[in-house]
Symmetry: C2
Subunit: 150 residues, 2 copies
Amino acid sequence: MHYAPYTHEWYMHKALQQAQLAFEKEEIPVGAIVVMQDKIISRAHNMTEQLNDVTAHAEILALTAAFNHMGAKYLPDATLYVTLEPCHMCAGALYWSKIGRVVYGASDAKHGYQHFFGGNNAMHPKTEIISGILANECAALMKNFFKAKR
Amino acid sequence: MHYAPYTHEWYMHKALQQAQLAFEKEEIPVGAIVVMQDKIISRAHNMTEQLNDVTAHAEILALTAAFNHMGAKYLPDATLYVTLEPCHMCAGALYWSKIGRVVYGASDAKHGYQHFFGGNNAMHPKTEIISGILANECAALMKNFFKAKR
């Protein structure tokens, strides 16, 4: 699939490539990237199994790598793309980061921060939220993963 | 101050010692320890300034060290002691860890998970929550920190 460069779909496809890597390592397939001024400054996928650490979600790893790259702990000019709606832990991390924008793919009816808190917004009030980008592709990867696990 | 061994106050005092280390490094003074079968398996303090990483809260660092120590990503038989009410990011991390018990000291009216979500419980339903242990001491350290910063 080809997407026009620098579009949300184009970046989400990069996050999906990270999710695909997770899938191949038998991790729940969630991928994330952080973008600043049209440049990808970090890429990560879920590593909870490999690291034996439930905090090693794609978003946390991508944020930490972005902080390291920038030498800064706030990212008001950055966008995080993630294939799945963030959980409340990751929403909290994004809140603290003061990130400018969060773009996610598939919704997560069970653990997504919006569902978990009944629509309560756990992100920073200045953070723009965009959802549903390549949602079907992101959700399909998750479904295939859990189907293969059964 | 002396506390009877293995009491909540005794363990919270150990977490406070971590918070004191944070204070001395000009970090917001929050400390945490993880205890299993009367043994402290990890100790950590807030390192957001030093690491330039807003996810480096005491709870996250203490959990990650405990996962490493145990070689396991769930901690149903462990207790985390933390000097301040966890934020929603840390509540999320504790949720995923399925930790048996969380004991915290001072409440955090601004960023504590209970206040942030209007009483909504962000922890795992099986996690026992105990609050207010050495609350005055934990709060005093925070107050002194922010007073010194002014």
